[in-house]
């Protein structure tokens, strides 16, 4: 677990918050929400078609976490993996429910979510759309791993924990996913492969 922490961006700082949350401190859960809700939402949007559903699931994930936090054992990195595992299961449940309902999707209006202010500076909307579409077209296992890695910010061992896979399998999937993404994006940017990110 400590290895997870060393490779994760600042997650170790949340160790104390997780302990407080386990002790029943709701404000600590609120802090965890603040720290982890955006990457979780980003992951959920990549898994369930509609941003609105993803937002609803995000709330459910945290309520599930509150309910079961007594059973959780580990540090902040483990907690993050655990939370994403809940999100993963919730997304699967929703997909099952929707398939039973046979609902017609309301266009692809929300396939590309509203950008966050910070990212708006870096990529324009057309590029975001192209990337989102490319991610959505990945095979499910690759999409899942790449979303956890890049949207969720998880390390490979954390992803392995969240999905009950071997770390080697996660690395292979992320490698393949990036190859496929690069291939999918290439025709759009002849010359120098990709647009440059702004500073």
């Amino acid at each position: 677990l400590s290895r997870h922490a060393s490779t994760s961006n600042g997650i170790a700082e949340l160790d104390g918050v997780v302990v407080r949350a386990q002790a029943g401190d709701r404000l600590a859960v609120g802090e965890l929400y603040q720290a982890l809700s955006a990457p979780l939402l980003s992951y959920l949007i990549s898994q369930v078609r509609r941003a609105e559903d993803a937002e609803d699931l995000l709330g459910q994930v945290f309520l599930d976490a509150i309910r079961d936090i007594g059973r959780f054992q580990g540090d902040a990195s483990g907690f993050r993996a655990w939370l994403f595992r809940i999100a993963h299961n919730r997304a699967i449940d929703l997909a099952r429910r929707l398939s039973r309902r046979a609902e017609v999707p309301l266009a692809d209006a929300e396939a590309v979510p509203e950008e966050s202010d910070a990212e708006e500076l870096a990529l324009d909307r057309a590029e975001r759309e192209r990337l989102w579409k490319a991610v959505r077209r990945l095979p499910p296992a690759q999409r899942e791993v790449i979303a956890l890695r890049l949207a969720g910010g998880l390390s490979s061992p954390e992803i392995a924990t969240a999905l009950s896979k071997r770390v080697g399998a996660v690395k292979a999937l992320q490698h393949r996913a990036l190859e496929n993404l690069a291939k999918a994006l290439q025709p759009a940017y002849p010359g120098k492969q990709h647009p440059r990110l702004n500073e």
């Binding site: 509203e114 990529l123 991610v135």
Partner: protein
């Protein structure tokens, strides 16, 4: 062997990705540069922020949730419950504590289901706790989306259609879409920044119109009039929002350090604009 090299590449790539995720510069070997560059782009593209109203709602639920009182899952089996009871429960959830899982579970409910009144009550509360006109505009727009999805769900449900329920939901859509236009207008009058919202409303209503024109051919005759009226309302709201932002450049913005919000941005080649209700409705449907 190829496999050994591949495995080594995967390990190196994994380290590079740790750097990308942490936002620290990485020294990338040439053979992996396109993959790392792709990862950087994808990371930037996938990043989203949680809407302020959503975060507030979730935080409220987090603080009020009492896990011991909640069943693990809620099943919508008993449909004949009193509507008033559900509304009271929703108010209790959000204001009084407990039952937050019900609130979350109600999110996917459609008209006629037990939890649907809970969903509507929570929406009403959402509006109350968001005093600013622009956030109300955003909420109304998202509620209009929901109503339209509910109509779709009702129309496509395998059981028999209930024309009254469909009609009532379409009417609710009309209400939301009209309220969207009104709230955006208010926000503008108050000098709030609305460019992003206006663009969002414009695109979303364009999509609504496409969906409505499709629904017009599939709903029971009784609901068709309501659909036509809804298309008219949607077009009106769209026009109102567009004209609202194109005219007042000089007057509405305070002194423009960042400048008053611009009118609709120059066309970026968005896929399809809305078919007008007239163009679609009379030409294609009947």
């Amino acid at each position: 062997m190829v496999n050994i090299r591949k495995r080594a590449d995967r390990a190196v790539l994994d380290e590079m990705l740790d750097g990308v995720v942490a936002g620290r510069p990485v020294d990338v070997p040439d053979r992996l540069s396109s993959l790392v560059e792709t990862a950087e782009l994808a990371r930037a593209a996938l990043a989203v922020s949680v809407d302020e109203s959503t975060a507030r709602r979730h935080q409220t639920l987090i603080q009020l949730f009492e896990p011991e009182d909640q069943p693990r899952t809620l099943r919508v089996t008993q449909r004949r419950r009193v509507r008033g009871l559900a509304i009271a429960m929703a108010l209790f959830l959000v204001l009084g504590g407990g039952g937050a899982a019900t609130a979350a579970a109600s999110a996917g409910a459609v008209p006629g289901e037990l939890l649907y009144p809970v969903k509507r009550a929570i929406e009403a509360i959402d509006l109350v706790v968001h005093p600013s006109a622009s956030s109300r505009g955003r909420l109304h727009l998202s509620f209009a989306d929901r109503r339209l999805r509910e109509v779709q769900a009702l129309v496509s449900s395998r059981g028999s259609h209930d024309p009254d329920l469909i009609e009532a939901t379409v009417v609710s859509y009309q209400v939301e879409v009209t309220a969207t236009g009104v709230s955006v207008g208010e926000a503008e009058q108050q000098g709030l920044p609305v460019r992003g919202l206006v663009e969002r409303v414009r695109l979303r209503i364009a999509q609504h119109l496409v969906v409505l024109s499709d629904l017009a051919t599939r709903v029971p005759p009784k609901a068709q009039d309501a659909i036509r009226r809804a298309m008219q309302r949607a077009s009106n709201a769209q026009e109102k929002v567009q004209h609202g932002t194109t005219k007042p450049q000089g007057g509405s913005g305070p002194q423009g350090s960042s400048g008053p919000e611009k009118s609709t941005p120059p066309g970026r080649g968005h896929k399809s604009e809305a078919p007008t209700p007239r163009g679609q409705g009379q030409g294609g449907g009947h």
